[in-house]
C-alpha cells in the first residue's frame, strides 16, 4: 500500500499545476530574500573596510606628525591634536572595534538593522554613552526586512497549510473516502503516509531550491558542514512541526474550509499572537526603568563630580601613588583631573546602568523558559543565532567593545600621569580589537522542536478514530 501511495502521490504532485506554481513561488521568495540579505552583508563589510582604510590613512599621518615633532619641526595642526600628547592619540586616533559578518549572516537580519557593526572608542568617551544603535530609518525597523528567516518562519508554514489542509477532507467531499476505506489500510495510517510523502517532497524542494540559490550567490563553499546541518536541521524540524499540526487538524477536522480556518487560526496564534503576547508579558513582569530618569541621575552625579574635580584628582593620586611618584615635574593639566573624575563617575553610575542590563537579562531568562510554547520564536531565534545577528551576539559585541575601551584608556594612563610624551616607538604597542564570535548552541532547539512535533504526531495517531462518514 505504501508503494502504491508513494507512486500515486508522486504522480499527483508532478501533474499538479499547483506544485509547479509553488516551486516557482518558493524559488522567487528564497532568491529575493537571500539576495536582500546578501546585499546587507556586502554593505556592512564594505563600510568596515572603508573605515579601516581611513584609520590606516590617519595612522600614516600621525606617524608623519610624530616624525616632524620628534625632529623638532613645526606642525600645522591644532596643538591639542598633536599626537605626541597621549590624550591626543587616545581621542583623535582611535582604533576600530568591528564585528564582521559571518558566512550565514545573510540568512537573518535579526537585530543587525538596529545595531552598529563598528565603533571607535576614545579615551574621553564614556563606556555607557557609547551609542551602539545604528542610524536606520525607524519606518524600516518597524516593517522589518524581507530575509530568508521571514520566508522560513512566516511563509513556509502557510505554504505547508495550503499544501495539506484538505488531504482527508477532500476525499470525503469528493466521495472517494468510502472507496479508500475499503482498502487494507487504516485511515490514519493513510493520512500519515500521505502527509509524510508531501512533507518529504516539500522538504526536498526547499533544500534543492535553497542550495540552487546558494550556488547562484556563490555562497555554497563559504558555509561549513555544521552550518549546513544546523540550517537545514532547523528548517526540517519546523516543517515537521507544521505537518504534525496539519495531521492533527486533518484527522480531527470536518470539512476543508473548517480545516483551513483552524490551521490559519493556529498559524496566527503561533506566529503572531504568542510572540507579541510573550513580549508584552515579559515587559510587564520585568519593566525597564525610565531612561529619562536615568539621565537625570547621571547629570546630577556628573555635575557634582565636575565641581570636585581637583579634590577627586588628589584622592585618585593617593590611591595610585605610582603616578604621583614617577613624575618629578608633577605638572597637572585639565586631562589629569578629567580622567580621574571620569573614573569616579563611572564607579558611581555603574549600579544605575547595571539595573537596565539586569532587567533585560531577567526578561531574556524568562523568555528562554517560555519560548518553547511557539516553535516560531525558537526557529527565528536559532536562525538569528546562526547568522550571528541575535540579541546575544550584539550584547557580546557590546561587552567586548567596552572591555576594549577600558584597555584603550588604561593604555594611556601611565603616559598621562607620568607626563610622558607619546612617541613613534609606542605606535606598535597600541592595543588592537579582535571580535570573538561566540558560537551559540542551537542543537537544543532542534531537538526540542522535533520532540514536540513527534509528540503531536503520536498524540494524533493514538487518540484519533477517523470515521468514514462526515456525519458520524
Amino acid at each position: 500500500m505504501f508503494k502504491y501511495n508513494f507512486r500515486y502521490e508522486l504522480k499527483l504532485l508532478i501533474r499538479s499545476k499547483w506544485i509547479q506554481l509553488l516551486s516557482i513561488l518558493l524559488l522567487l521568495l528564497f532568491s529575493f530574500a537571500a539576495f536582500n540579505g546578501q546585499q546587507k552583508v556586502e554593505k556592512r563589510n564594505l563600510d568596515i573596510a572603508e573605515m579601516k582604510q581611513q584609520i590606516e590613512e590617519s595612522d600614516a599621518s600621525m606617524l608623519k606628525l610624530l616624525d616632524s615633532v620628534e625632529s623638532g619641526m613645526q606642525v600645522s595642526v591644532p596643538r591639542w591634536t598633536i599626537p605626541n600628547s597621549p590624550m591626543a592619540v587616545g581621542n583623535y586616533y582611535p582604533r576600530i572595534a568591528e564585528m564582521r559578518a559571518s558566512a550565514l549572516t545573510f540568512v537573518a537580519t535579526g537585530q543587525s538593522d538596529l545595531y552598529t557593526h563598528y565603533i571607535k572608542p576614545t579615551v574621553a568617551s564614556d563606556d555607557f554613552e557609547l551609542n551602539f544603535t545604528e542610524m536606520t530609518s525607524p519606518t524600516q525597523l518597524l516593517f522589518g526586512s524581507f530575509d530568508l528567516a521571514f520566508v522560513i518562519v512566516y511563509l513556509l508554514p502557510l505554504i505547508i497549510i495550503a499544501f495539506s489542509y484538505n488531504v482527508l477532507s477532500y476525499e470525503r467531499e469528493s466521495g472517494s473516502l468510502r472507496l479508500l476505506a475499503s482498502q487494507p489500510i487504516s485511515l490514519k495510517h493513510w493520512v500519515l503516509q500521505k502527509l509524510g510523502l508531501r512533507f518529504f517532497w516539500l522538504l526536498l524542494m526547499v533544500i534543492v531550491i535553497l542550495i540552487t540559490v546558494f550556488i547562484a550567490m556563490g555562497k555554497i563553499s563559504e558555509i561549513n558542514v555544521t552550518g549546513y546541518a544546523y540550517f537545514f536541521g532547523i528548517i526540517l524540524v519546523y516543517m515537521l512541526f507544521w505537518f504534525a499540526i496539519a495531521f492533527l487538524v486533518n484527522i480531527f477536522g470536518k470539512n476543508s474550509a473548517n480545516n483551513a480556518v483552524s490551521l490559519l487560526g493556529l498559524w496566527v496564534v503561533f506566529v503572531l499572537l504568542m510572540p507579541s503576547g510573550l513580549n508584552q508579558i515579559g515587559n510587564a513582569l520585568y519593566p525597564i526603568p525610565s531612561r529619562n530618569i536615568m539621565i537625570n541621575k547621571m547629570r546630577i552625579t556628573k555635575s557634582e563630580a565636575t565641581k570636585k574635580q581637583n579634590e577627586i584628582l588628589d584622592n585618585f593620586l593617593r590611591d595610585h601613588p605610582e603616578y604621583a611618584i614617577n613624575d618629578p615635574k608633577q605638572s597637572r593639566s585639565f586631562w589629569h583631573g578629567y580622567m580621574a573624575s571620569k573614573q569616579l563617575i563611572k564607579q558611581e553610575l555603574e549600579p544605575i546602568v547595571a539595573t537596565y542590563d539586569e532587567q533585560l537579562r531577567k526578561q531574556q531568562r524568562w523568555l528562554d523558559k517560555l519560548k518553547w510554547v511557539s516553535p516560531a520564536i525558537v526557529v527565528q531565534e536559532s536562525l538569528n543565532k546562526m547568522a550571528g545577528t541575535s540579541t546575544a551576539d550584539y550584547e557580546n559585541f557590546r561587552k567586548q567593545v567596552i572591555d576594549f575601551a577600558v584597555i584603550w584608556r588604561e593604555h594611556f594612563m601611565p603616559f598621562l600621569y607620568n607626563n610622558q610624551p607619546f612617541s613613534k616607538q609606542d605606535y606598535t604597542d597600541l592595543p588592537k580589537f579582535q571580535y570573538e564570535q561566540k558560537t551559540l548552541e542551537i542543537r537544543e532547539s532542534i531537538l526540542v522542536v522535533s520532540a514536540i512535533s513527534l509528540g503531536l504526531l503520536s498524540f494524533g495517531f493514538l487518540m484519533s478514530k477517523v470515521r468514514v462518514s462526515a456525519f458520524s
Partner: protein, 468 residues
C-alpha cells in the same frame, strides 16, 4: 431584499459558534491591548514630566560659571508622548526619547525602547495598532470568505437568483451584515479610548477630531478588505479556495508589501552608517571656523574682518568680547554643517517615503499604516519635526550664552563667570507638534490612495456581481 438578506446573514453569524468565539477573542485581545497601552501611556507621561522638571532644575541650579562651560554642560530635550499613541505606537519604539543639547554638536535622540528589549520584540507587540492593522482584516476574512461560496455549495444561490432578486441588493445586504459588526466594534473601541483619554488628568492635548480621523481611516481600511474578500468569495467556486485566495491577499498586503517596501527603500536610498555620518560632520567642521581655535586661518580672517568693520586695530578695543564673538561664529558654522548634512539625510528620507508611497498603490495596508501613525503623531515625520525643533532651540540657547559672554566680559577674560541667576533666563524648551490639518495635508497622497482603494474595490465588487 437588502434588509432581508441582512437579517438572514446576521442571524447566521450570531448562530455560528466559531465566528462568535473568534469575534469575542479579538475584542478581548483588543481591550487588553488598549488597557496595557493606557497604563504605559500614563507612566510614560508622568516620567516625562518628572524628567523634564528635574533636568530644568539641574540647569537652573548651576553655580556661577563661564557661559561657555554651561553650554558644554548642556541640557536635554525630552520627547513627550501624545494621547493617540495609546492606539498607535507607530515608530515610537525605534526612536530615542531624549536629545542632549550642547555646544558645537547636534546629537541624535538617545535610548530607543527597541534597544532595551529582547529579540522577540521584533515580532511585534500586542498593541491596539497591531490588532487593528493585522488581526481585524483576518476577522473580516473569516466573516465573509464563504459569504457567496456557501450559497453555491448548498445550491441556494440559483434558488435566490430564480426569485428574481437583484444580485446588487443581495450583495448590499450581505455587505451590510459583515460591515455592521466590524463597524460597531471599532466604533465602540474608539469611543472607549476617547473617554479613557479625556478622563486623564493632564489631557490638555487630547481632542476628539484626530481620534475621529483615525477612526475614519480604519473604517475605510476595513471597507476595502470587506469588498476584496466578498469579491473573491463571489468569483470562487468553493469556500476553501476563497479562503486560501483571501489569505494570500492578506499576506501580500499586510506582511509582504511593508517588508518589500522597506527593503526597496533602503536599497535605493540607503542611510549612511552612524560612523560615516559623524565622519562627514567632522570633516565639514574642519573646513570652517572652530570657535575654540584662535590660531586657525579662518579665525585670523574673522579677526581681520571684525577689526576693519569697527575701525579699530586691536581686539581689546572692540565693544564686546571677541573670544565669545568667535565662539558664536564658530557655532554658526557648525550649525550650518549640521544643517547641510541633516538636509542630505532628510532628502534620503523623502526619497524613501516616495518608494513607500509608490508601493502603497499595491497594498491598502500601507496607506492605512502611515496615516494612522501620522495622526497619532508617532510617525517618523513627527520625530524629524521634534528633532529639528530641538536643534533650533539648541542654536538659540548657544546664542543666548555666547551673547552673555560677549557683552559682559572683556577680550581674553576667560575667567569670567556669569551670575548663577543667568541660567533661569534661558527660555524653557517647548515643543508643539504639527496640528491635524498639517498632518493630513502632508499625508494627502496616502489619503488619496486609500480613497482610491475604497472606490475601486466598491466599483469592482458591484460591477462584477452585476455582470456575472
Amino acid at each position: 431584499m437588502i434588509v432581508k438578506t441582512f437579517h438572514k446573514e446576521t442571524k447566521e453569524l450570531l448562530r455560528d459558534g466559531r465566528a462568535k468565539a473568534t469575534f469575542i477573542i479579538v475584542l478581548l485581545l483588543l481591550s487588553v491591548a488598549v488597557w496595557i497601552s493606557h497604563t504605559k501611556y500614563k507612566n510614560a507621561n508622568t516620567e516625562y514630566e518628572v524628567a523634564k522638571q528635574n533636568e530644568r532644575e539641574v540647569w537652573d541650579n548651576q553655580d556661577a560659571k563661564n557661559p561657555h562651560s554651561a553650554a558644554h554642560y548642556g541640557t536635554y530635550a525630552f520627547k513627550p508622548k501624545y494621547p493617540l499613541s495609546l492606539l498607535d505606537k507607530g515608530v515610537d519604539k525605534y526612536v530615542g526619547t531624549s536629545i542632549f543639547l550642547e555646544a558645537h554638536n547636534r546629537n541624535e535622540a538617545l535610548y530607543s525602547a527597541a534597544a532595551d528589549q529582547t529579540g522577540i520584540s521584533r515580532f511585534g507587540e500586542l498593541t491596539p495598532d497591531f490588532i487593528l492593522l493585522f488581526i481585524m482584516p483576518l476577522l473580516v476574512i473569516l466573516l465573509c470568505y464563504n459569504i457567496f461560496t456557501k450559497e453555491k455549495e448548498l445550491g441556494t444561490f440559483f434558488l435566490l437568483k430564480s426569485t428574481g432578486a437583484s444580485v446588487t441588493n443581495l450583495t448590499l445586504g450581505k455587505w451590510l451584515s459583515v460591515f455592521t459588526p466590524v463597524f460597531l466594534s471599532v466604533t465602540i473601541l474608539f469611543l472607549i479610548s476617547g473617554f479613557m483619554l479625556s478622563s486623564l488628568k493632564d489631557y490638555g492635548v487630547f481632542s476628539w477630531t484626530p481620534l475621529l480621523s483615525m477612526w475614519g481611516v480604519y473604517i475605510l481600511y476595513y471597507i476595502v478588505f470587506i469588498n476584496i474578500v466578498m469579491l473573491i468569495s463571489y468569483v470562487s467556486k468553493r469556500s476553501g479556495i476563497s479562503l486560501v485566495i483571501s489569505l494570500s491577499v492578506w499576506i501580500i498586503a499586510c506582511l509582504g508589501a511593508p517588508k518589500v517596501a522597506s527593503t526597496l527603500a533602503e536599497d535605493k536610498n540607503p542611510y549612511p552608517t552612524r560612523q560615516e555620518f559623524e565622519a562627514m560632520i567632522v570633516k565639514g567642521k574642519k573646513e570652517g571656523l572652530d570657535g575654540h581655535n584662535p590660531w586657525s586661518k579662518e579665525a585670523k580672517l574673522l579677526e581681520k574682518q571684525v577689526l576693519e568693520e569697527h575701525g579699530v586695530d586691536s581686539l581689546h578695543q572692540l565693544p564686546f568680547n571677541f573670544d565669545a564673538y568667535r565662539m558664536q561664529k564658530g557655532e554658526e558654522h557648525q550649525a550650518e554643517v549640521y544643517f547641510k548634512h541633516y538636509k542630505q539625510l532628510k532628502e534620503q528620507y523623502y526619497k524613501q517615503t516616495k518608494t513607500y508611497k509608490s508601493l502603497a498603490v499595491v497594498s491598502p495596508f500601507l496607506p492605512t499604516r502611515f496615516l494612522s501613525m501620522a495622526i497619532a503623531q508617532t510617525d517618523y515625520a513627527t520625530h524629524w519635526d521634534f528633532s529639528d525643533a530641538a536643534e533650533n532651540y539648541r542654536i538659540k540657547s548657544q546664542k543666548f550664552l555666547n551673547d552673555n559672554f560677549a557683552e559682559n566680559a572683556a577680550y581674553g577674560e576667560w575667567s569670567y563667570k556669569a551670575d548663577a541667576s543667568t541660567w533661569t533666563d534661558l527660555p524653557v524648551f517647548e515643543y508643539n507638534p504639527p496640528v491635524l490639518s498639517a498632518i493630513l495635508k502632508g499625508n494627502r497622497s496616502y489619503l488619496i490612495i486609500l480613497g482610491f482603494w475604497t472606490l475601486l474595490s466598491f466599483g469592482t465588487l458591484f460591477l462584477i456581481t452585476k455582470l456575472k
